[in-house]
Each structure stands twice: as C-alpha cells, then as structure tokens.
C-alpha cells in the first residue's frame, strides 16, 4: 500500500520517538539505567546468588565478603539477593499503580473536561479536596485503615495519584475540545464517548505519556517511602524502602547495609526522571 521508502505508520512513530530520546544525552543515560534495572528484575532468579529470605545466623550484619558480595543484613540475609529481588517488587508495583491512576484519572478528566457543567464541578471539587491533603497524611490514613500489603500500596498510590492525572487530562481536554475538529465531530452528531476517546484522547497522549513516566518515578519514590515508614510491604518481602528502614537501626555497625538499597532506589528514581525530563524537553522544543 505504501509507495514511499520511509517507514510509515506505527513503525515510524516508534522510530521518531526513539530518535527524540537519543537526541538527548540526559534521556539516554536515564534509559540505560532503567533498562539495567528491568533486566535485573527479569533475570532475578539467575542473578541472585542466594535465596533472598534465607537467614544465616553466622553472617548477621556482616561486611561484604566473597560469600555475601554486598554483605548481609541484621537477620543474616544476603543484601545483594534482596536488592535483586527487591527490584522485582518495585518494578511491578510502580507501573501497576501508575497504570491504575492514569486509567482512573484519564476517565475522570475526560468526562469532567468534555461535559463541563455540574459533573465537572462536582468531580473537580472532590479531586481538589483530595489534592489539598498532604499526600503523606493520605498514605498514613489509608494504610493505617486497610493495613499494609502490596494491593493496598497500589490502591493508596492510585488514590493519591489519580486526581493529578485527572487535572492534567481535564486541562488538555478543555484545550482540545475547543478545536474545530471536535466541533466537526459534533456537527456529525458523534456520540460523546466517541469524541472523548477517539477524537480527544489520541491528541492528549503525548503529555499523558510523559506525565506517566514522571509518575512512575514518583510511585517508586512513594513505594520506597511507604516501605521506609513501615507502611509498605509486610516484612519478609524484599523491599528497598523496608531494607533501608531496618538497616537504618544498624547504621553504626553495618553502614553499607543501608547504603546499597539507598543507592538502588535513588538510581532508579533519578533515571526515570532524567528520562521523562529529557523526553519532555526534546519533544516540546521542536513542536
């Protein structure tokens, strides 16, 4: 069907987006670190030298050794293996919770922005009220009420994140819906959901995707924080935030035990932000 030699359709889009990434050194650096952690998470069982839950009472708070490359924690568990498996937890929960908040937020934002009027007023007032809350308070109250578990962490982050997405999508929708092509769709008598999802949403996807990237970074940040505060995953699960929290108590005997997970989580969040930020800079510069 295509007569031109250039790649076309979705293939070309992917290529264009990738070339945007590689134009920015910062975004490239971010992408490399993210890919590193994704690979670590995928191949965790192969890479991890020990069982992350196995306790070795002879190695409690041990410094790095040949057996335990990064040392062992206060229960004598291998820190390296726990780090490797911890990447799985965080790389699963963070995108999942972002996906949920983006789905909920997009729906609310589209509805509020497109219909306007009373619906918009009610939805936005509620979301504003949620956003007016200190985030940490929401986490504290939600987790205190429903107890810490993986599902609840996802729920809490969705609940806290969705209003922000909704606001973004709403403002994009408010802008896009004034365009004449929406008017044209309306004069064709298109159904509102066709207009919202097929006429508006595809044109809002750029900012939503970039926002989601930033949100994944933020979700990792939050999951780490919840883990650190003891509101995250229940204890035996390898979780970076939780590892820092328990190792913090033994910082004077085993300083490296707290350093590794702190480095791991920092590198991942920084990488995600570098990536998203580089992407945003490049994509807005040449519009």
């Amino acid at each position: 069907m295509q007569t031109t030699g250039k790649p076309s359709g979705p293939g070309r889009q992917v290529w264009e987006n990738l070339s945007i990434v590689f134009r920015s050194r910062v975004a490239t650096a971010g992408l490399v670190i993210i890919l590193f952690w994704i690979l670590v998470a995928i191949f965790a069982p192969i890479l991890a030298p020990h069982d992350p839950l196995a306790q070795d009472s002879s190695a409690i708070n041990q410094a790095p050794s040949r057996q335990y490359l990064l040392g062992a924690d206060n229960l004598g568990r291998d820190i390296l293996s726990r780090l490797i498996y911890g990447s799985r937890t965080i790389l699963l929960l963070a995108p999942l919770s972002v996906l949920c908040s983006v789905a909920v937020g997009t729906l609310l934002g589209l509805i509020g922005g497109y219909f306007g009027g009373l619906i918009d007023e009610v939805v936005m007032r509620i979301l504003d009220a949620i956003m007016a809350f200190p985030t940490i308070l929401l986490y504290l109250i939600i987790i205190a009420a429903i107890g810490p578990s993986a599902l609840n962490v996802v729920l809490a982050i969705t609940f806290v994140g969705a209003p922000g997405v909704a606001r973004l999508v709403r403002s994009l929708t408010l802008d896009i819906r004034t365009r004449d092509y929406i008017r044209a769709a309306e004069t064709r008598g298109e159904n509102p959901f066709y207009i919202m999802f097929l006429e508006i949403l595809p044109n809002a996807r750029g900012p939503i995707i970039i926002d989601s990237m930033l949100r994944v970074g933020y979700a990792i940040f939050s999951i780490g924080t919840l883990g650190f505060l003891g509101l995250g995953l229940p204890p035996p699960t390898p979780d970076w935030g939780g590892m820092i929290s328990s190792a913090r108590k033994f910082i004077w005997t085993n300083p490296l035990g707290v350093l590794w997970p702190a480095l791991a989580i920092s590198s991942l969040v920084v990488a995600l932000n570098l990536f998203a930020d580089g992407l945003r800079e490049e994509s807005t510069r040449y519009q």
């Binding site: 509101l231 702190a262 989580i265």
Partner: protein, 432 residues
C-alpha cells in the same frame, strides 16, 4: 477581598469538618482493635471489653464523633448531678476532671475492695479529705447505684451490691480498676481545645502536639530560610541563560536532588557527615522538653536533607517560569524600548517570573509535610511527623485526628495564603 477571604475561611472550616468525619470513619473501618493493641495479646476478652468501654469505644460512632468534636462533659453532668470541671490542683502534675460539689470542693470517687466507694474531697487550697459514700441512689430495679467521677477522667456508674465485673488486673498501663458498671470518658471536645487522651501514651494529645509542632516548625522554617533565596536565585539565573552551562548544571543538579527520596538522601548524609567524617551527630535525639534550637548541631543534617529535596523543586519551577517570561512579547517590547538589560530583567521580568512559582511553591506545602515526616523518621527527630507516624501505626485515633486536623489546616491555610499573595502580585486578578 475581605469577603473573598471570609468565604475561603468558611470553606476551609467546612473542609476540616469533612476531613474529621472522614478520618473518623476510616479509623472506624480499620481492622484491629485499639484495646487489644494496648493490652497485648494475652489479655482476656473481658479485659479487652472493659478497656473498650473505658476508651468509650462501645458507644455508637456518631456519639463518639460528637463527643470528640464538642465534648460530653455537659451531657455527663446530668448523670453525676454536679458540674464537672477540668482543672489542676495543688500537688498534682496533670489537670484532671472533678465534680464540683455545692460546697465548692472538688470531688473524685474510687471503689476500694474492702472499704467500699471512697469519696475524695479537695478544697481550693489543695487539702484533701476522704469519706465513704453513703448516699447511694436507687435505680429502676431498686438497686443501689452511684454516678461519680473516677481518678482517670471517666464518669462511672458504681453498684453497691454485686459488682458485675472483676477488678481489672490486666497487663499494660492505662487500665483503671475495672470495678464500675459503666464508663464514659469525659472530654471537652476539639472545638474547646481538647483533642483527648492518646491511647498510645495515655497522656493528653494537646500539649504533646503543640510541642511537636514547635519542633517541626523549627525544622521547616530553617530549611525554608535556606531554600527560598537560593532556589529562587538559581532558578532565575538558569532561566535567564537558557541552555548555558550554568543552566544545564542547575537543571541537572535540581533534577537529581529532587528525585532522590528523602530517606535515601538522609542516609547518604548520615554516612558522609556522621559516619565517615564524624563531623555531626547522625540522629536528632532530644530530651522531649528541650527545644531543638538549644542544640543546633543536631539540626544540621535534618535541615540539609530537607533543603536538598526542596531546593531543586523550587529552582526548577522558577527556571521554567523565567524562561516563559523571557520569551514573552512584552519583554521584547522592553528591549525594543531601549531599556538597559538590568532594568528589563528587574523591572519587567522578575516580578512576572515569580508569580507562577510562588503559588506553586505554596501548594507544595503538602509535599513538604511528607518530606518532614520522612526526615523526622530518618533522624528520629521528635516532630509532628514522627508523632503522626507512630500514632498511625498504633491506631491512636485521638492523636491521628488531631494531627490530621493540624496538617489539613496547614495545607488549606497555605493555599489560602498563596491565593492572596498571587492576587496581590497579579493585577489582572486584583482588578476584576
């Protein structure tokens, strides 16, 4: 303007009311029992039940909420048939609830195993008299009962014959003797300045929160004093020279410092400054009553951690805003009017460039509060954040409620302030 602020204040109060209800409901829905939490795993079901009653948990939710909000002393007065008074008397360390007898003495009662119900009479000067209760009342079933105030701030119904419950010899603190028939914890209610007793510490929440707030405020204020000038300056300079090496380094530095979670950057700072360089203390352990500024060394690392995270955020906002303003047509006009560079920047650009970040930064207070909780937790700093965290983990409803009210008031209040400031900065809003 005054009307606008007033309207916002009313909305703010309304928000806080809704928040308090929401927190109450969520805490109610929470699995796990506070009484069990206090008493530990080995308490008998009867003991737990008694504890629940003494905490007031057996009453319907709406009654508890009303009690919490507006107090119940005015209601309980009718049961005791004497006015109730919350006061401190000479020789005691903490204020307590007393019944005020017609003769002006303050009274409390206590059922002792062999002596029966003892009445304590305190005169104004602190002298104390003991007497055995004789004026028992008759209830509908003809049994002799007595309504009084016990020594742990409850209104209690005692029965002369056959107390239905055993003396509470339960493990754990906070348990008063369980000889009464019914217990109502007396409270003044939040609106009258009494957030209740902490179930975790058994001490009144109010004074603790005030002290903890002071500590947190000190921390935040010092950090703020560092953040704002530095971040605004860096942001303005970077925005002014978009694409320059300065801009690139400021952008990268701020991106990295804002993305590293506080607990990680706190750990890095402790390792560097406390562990390896041994320059500063790595934890901020205070004797509870000492104000944090009395040992400034302890504050350095917490403040630095908070500053690192926030400074990047503010700098980035300011930079973006400055870039936008510098590209605005009115800046071009200013240059084409032949104004000197400095005048264009200071007179035309800076004010407009600060408008956006100031509001965004003010709204950022939500985030700042989160940061403070984490930083306090990292350094063991006895601030409001730590208090909230501990209370949440313990399900200490009174403390959570009070802390939530403070935080929400702070957040909503700052937003109000931000709006007012914005209105003053932006004539387009001021004059419409």
């Amino acid at each position: 303007m005054a009307k606008y602020i007033l309207r916002r204040l009313v909305f703010m109060l309304l928000t806080m009311l809704l928040v308090s209800i929401a927190v109450f409901l969520i805490s109610e829905a929470a699995p796990g029992d506070v009484a069990r939490h206090i008493l530990g795993q080995f308490a008998s079901p009867e003991q737990v039940e008694l504890m629940r009653e003494q905490l007031g948990l057996t009453q319907p939710l709406y009654v508890r909420y009303a009690d919490w909000l507006i107090g119940n002393d005015w209601r309980l007065t009718r049961l005791v048939d004497m006015p109730l008074k919350f006061t401190i008397i000479a020789g005691k360390t903490e204020p307590q609830w007393y019944a005020v007898a017609p003769d002006g003495t303050l009274r409390q009662w206590r059922l002792k195993k062999d002596e029966g119900l003892i009445e304590y009479r305190f005169a104004q000067d602190g002298t104390q008299e003991l007497a055995t209760v004789t004026d028992w009342q008759l209830d509908e079933e003809g049994e002799e009962i007595f309504w009084g105030v016990d020594t742990a701030n409850h209104v209690v119904l005692w029965r002369k014959e056959g107390a239905r419950r055993q003396f509470g010899a339960a493990a754990g603190r906070a348990m008063t003797e369980g000889s009464g028939e019914r217990y109502y914890p007396i409270r003044k209610g939040l609106l009258r300045g009494d957030p209740g007793i902490s179930t975790r510490t058994g001490r009144p929440v109010g004074p603790t929160i005030v002290r903890r707030m002071r500590n947190s405020f000190t921390l935040a204020a010092i950090a703020f004093a560092f953040i704002m000038p530095i971040a605004l300056l860096l942001g303005l300079l970077a925005g002014l020279r978009e694409g320059s090496p300065l801009d690139r380094s400021v952008s990268l530095f701020s991106l990295i410092t804002t993305s590293v979670p506080e607990f990680a950057s706190g750990v890095f700072l402790i390792l560097i400054f406390a562990f390896w360089l041994e320059l500063l203390p790595g934890a901020a352990v205070f004797v509870d009553d000492i104000a944090p500024w009395q040992d400034p060394k302890l504050l350095v690392l917490p403040v630095l951690t908070l500053t690192l995270v926030e400074i990047g955020y503010v700098a980035r906002m300011t930079r973006a805003s400055m870039i936008e303003v510098m590209n605005a047509p009115y800046i071009r006009t200013a240059f084409l009017k032949g104004l000197p560079y400095r005048r264009v920047i200071f007179k035309h650009a800076v004010r407009n460039a600060l408008m956006a970040p100031i509001t965004v930064i003010m709204l950022h207070v939500n985030w700042l509060i989160g940061g403070i909780v984490v930083v306090e937790s990292v350094f063991g700093y006895p601030g409001l954040g730590m208090y909230m965290l501990d209370s949440a983990l313990f399900k200490d409803i009174n403390a959570i409620e009070a802390g939530a009210m403070v935080m929400v008031a702070l957040a909503v209040g700052t937003q109000l302030v931000a709006d007012v400031i914005y209105t003053f900065l932006n004539p387009r809003i001021r004059y419409t």
